[in-house]
């Protein structure tokens, strides 16, 4: 599943806000889950959201005007793929919104 969020922050500010927001996202993962973050480039990162035995891999690419990426949906969560995608998208949008 692909996500694409437009923004007007510029690359560096968007990156800063995501760095600040990621620990807050970790606190909101259900069931005492965990968030692993790996920066795969200056403006690219791979997230691994784990909760209740499921792992959702997310890749994000920070651009000047857009944040784009992919969300992998595990088989167990396939029936709620839309909601999982929305969760990731909303979480990312919230991080970008907060100065």
């Amino acid at each position: 599943m692909e996500i694409d969020i437009p923004h007007g922050l510029g690359r560096d500010e968007a990156k800063r806000r995501i760095e600040v927001g990621l620990p807050k996202l970790a606190a909101h993962i259900p069931g005492g889950g965990a968030l692993k973050v790996e920066w795969t480039g200056d403006y690219a990162l791979a997230l691994s959201i784990s909760a209740m035995g499921q792992t959702i891999p997310v890749t994000l690419e920070i651009g000047d005007t857009r944040l784009s990426g992919t969300v992998g949906i595990p088989v167990f969560l396939r029936m709620m793929a839309g909601q999982v995608g929305e969760f990731v998208k909303n979480s990312a949008a919230k991080m970008l919104d907060k100065p």
Partner: protein, 601 residues
């Protein structure tokens, strides 16, 4: 009062959410059965069951099947009023052929959908369910073993519902031990046989719903060896088809009596006499039991579904009464002070009964769909490995589904009667019928004791435990995957403990059973229940996990998922602990069970 609204929401959950990761989905050829299409089928089935089959359930029980005079003075078996019309509507709309292969006129729907429709049919009228149920079992056996000529002559009309089927096994002196049967079949020389003998307890043996009845009869050939290895299967029609394949001359088959039964009174259970009746061999000589077991195994899962259906109907009828009946005040203070008393649903012991029934039904439904998905994967899996795994899983779980569901169905029916109190014991309440109707399901198609022996004696050790691994692996993987300190910890801990008891019991039975088969026999029923409890626990734990994710990610159906977690919690706290008791019973061995001399009884 008999109340039933098909639990479509829970059915959709079991079908579309619970088992997505079981490896039995995404089957080639099933792409057209989208969730929307399946929804429409389930909704239409619910309408038919609620509007057509439920209204004739009690009246059918009161009237029962009986003898009636034909215009020509002869007598015939009549089904109760409304059954013929309901049957015509049922087959007219193709419900009998929902899962049958398209080449015989069926719709080829997945078994997973078919089993949910069966649950609705059994919930609303289990007597009625037997007529199409027996026919479908006969179709499976013929499709697998009959010659092309027999298939062509009989299957299209059986699949259309124009003709029905029966399975004729039991004789007065032999039921479980079919090796003793005496019915004979002598070759005539033209490819046909003359069948002679008497059978009892034949469901749908004679009735007025169809223009012909196709009996599958177990009999012995003249050169047959003694025992089960000398039994052959024969197709014996009530009317011999004429040159245009329509019912022609009457065959030498007759119903000599309608059995007087405790329940399922609208199902015509007959004593049948075969006198020089013309029949044809189905499959190989002396290998009739194998062919009959094809039919029987399909029927056993279906019988389990009968238990689930009745359990659901009993639950709903009890819930209605518990909300309606005013008796005493809530222990925590009046909940309806303006009324003379509170509805009995406020009382903890009534809640105990309702929650127990609810948990049984939801747990069994979860298991039923898992097994039904495997039935589909066994036939349509995309690769040999998937098909083989599904086949193993179905073989392992068939006795569990049959015995567990029917035991729990009766228990639910009994709890419904208890919820009604004295009124439950009165026929007009309608719930005592559920108890009487549910009782037979624990007996026919192999008693539940036989199911337990099948599980322990044949399935556990088969192929060095290969069948067992199809159940153990997903359960142990789920436990490993979800261990930790999350919100599911209490459930996972309880499941792990029960699963541990099952593993230890398996090892105990394997070790003792090798030295002394009576030890395996003594452990069998407890072992089957233990496996059923673990299976339901696995389904409830998965359901809780899905519900947790749904609630977190956002859902419009919050109430359903919250209720699912609450029911699961009840199961883990109040029902799954029984696993420990079954383990202790198994561990104790056969000693006290076999200690008394037969003379002391």
């Amino acid at each position: 009062m008999q109340i039933y609204n098909a639990p479509l929401r829970d059915m959709r959950f079991a079908l579309n959410e619970l088992h997505q990761d079981d490896g039995f989905g995404d089957l080639p050829g099933h792409e057209e059965f989208t969730p929307d299409l399946v929804d429409a089928v389930l909704e239409e089935a619910a309408r038919l069951c609620q509007d057509v089959l439920l209204p004739i359930n009690r009246s059918g029980d009161e009237e029962g099947c009986h003898w009636a005079k034909n215009p020509d003075g002869t007598t015939a078996v009549r089904t109760p009023q409304g059954f013929k019309e309901a049957y015509d509507q049922f087959v007219g709309n193709g419900w009998n052929a929902l899962v049958l292969p398209p080449e015989w006129g069926g719709q080829g729907m997945p078994e997973a959908v078919g089993k949910l429709v069966e649950e609705m049919i059994c919930a609303t009228n289990v007597s009625f369910s037997l007529y199409p149920g027996l026919t479908n079992g006969a179709i499976y056996a013929l499709n697998s073993y009959a010659s092309d000529a027999l298939k062509a002559a009989y299957l299209p009309k059986m699949a259309s519902g124009e003709w029905s089927g029966s399975m004729c096994l039991t004789e007065a002196h032999c039921g479980t031990d079919l090796g003793l049967l005496r019915t004979k079949a002598d070759p005539v020389g033209d490819g046909s046989f003359k069948v002679n003998g008497a059978k009892i307890f034949i469901s749908a043996g004679e009735h007025d719903l169809t223009s012909n009845i196709i009996h599958l009869v177990l009999a012995r050939l003249p050169d047959a060896p003694a025992g089960v290895k000398g039994i052959s299967l024969f197709l014996v029609p009530k009317f011999l088809p004429d040159s245009a394949d329509n019912p022609g001359a009457r065959n030498g088959v007759s119903c000599t009596a309608i059995e007087h039964k405790m329940g399922i009174k609208a199902s015509a259970t007959c004593q049948m006499l075969f006198e020089d009746s013309v029949g044809w061999l189905v499959g190989e000589p002396h290998r009739g039991l194998e062919a009959m077991f094809t039919m029987m195994n399909a029927e056993r899962v279906g019988v389990g579904i009968q238990g689930l259906g009745i359990g659901e109907a009993a639950y709903q009828s009890a819930v209605w009464y518990a909300k309606d009946r005013l008796q005493s005040r809530s222990l925590s203070g009046a909940k309806f002070p303006d009324k003379a008393a509170d509805p009995i649903i406020v009382h903890p012991d009534v809640r105990r009964m309702l929650m127990t029934m609810r948990a049984y039904n939801e747990g069994c439904r979860g298991l039923a769909v898992w097994v039904a998905r495997a039935l589909d994967a066994e036939k349509h899996g995309g690769d040999e490995e998937t098909r083989a795994k599904a086949k193993d899983f179905v073989a392992l779980m068939t006795p569990v589904v049959k015995a567990l569901f029917t035991d729990l169905g009766l228990e639910s029916a009994s709890l419904a009667v208890q919820t009604y109190g004295g009124h439950g014991f009165i026929r007009e309440s309608g719930v005592e019928q559920y108890m009487r109707d549910a009782r037979i399901a624990m007996i026919y198609e192999g008693t539940n004791g036989i199911q337990a022996l099948d599980l322990v004696g044949r399935k556990l050790g088969a192929n060095m435990g290969r069948l067992l691994r199809t159940f153990f692996h997903p359960v142990s993987a789920f436990i490993e995957e979800n261990k930790g300190d999350g919100p599911m910890k209490p459930m996972i801990d309880a499941l792990e403990k029960a699963f541990g008891a099952l593993q230890l019991s398996t090892a105990t039975i394997a070790q003792r059973g090798l030295k002394d088969p009576e030890e395996a026999g003594a452990a069998a029923s407890d072992y089957l229940r233990l496996m059923g409890l673990v299976g339901m626990g696995y389904c409830f734990a998965k359901a809780t996990k899905i519900a947790g994710f749904r609630l977190f990610f956002g859902t419009e159906d919050k109430a359903f998922y919250e209720a699912k977690i609450k029911t699961a919690t009840f199961f883990f706290e109040r029902i799954l602990p029984q696993a420990g008791g079954h383990f202790l019973a198994i561990k104790a061995g056969k000693g006290s069970m076999m200690a008394l001399d037969a003379e002391a009884f």
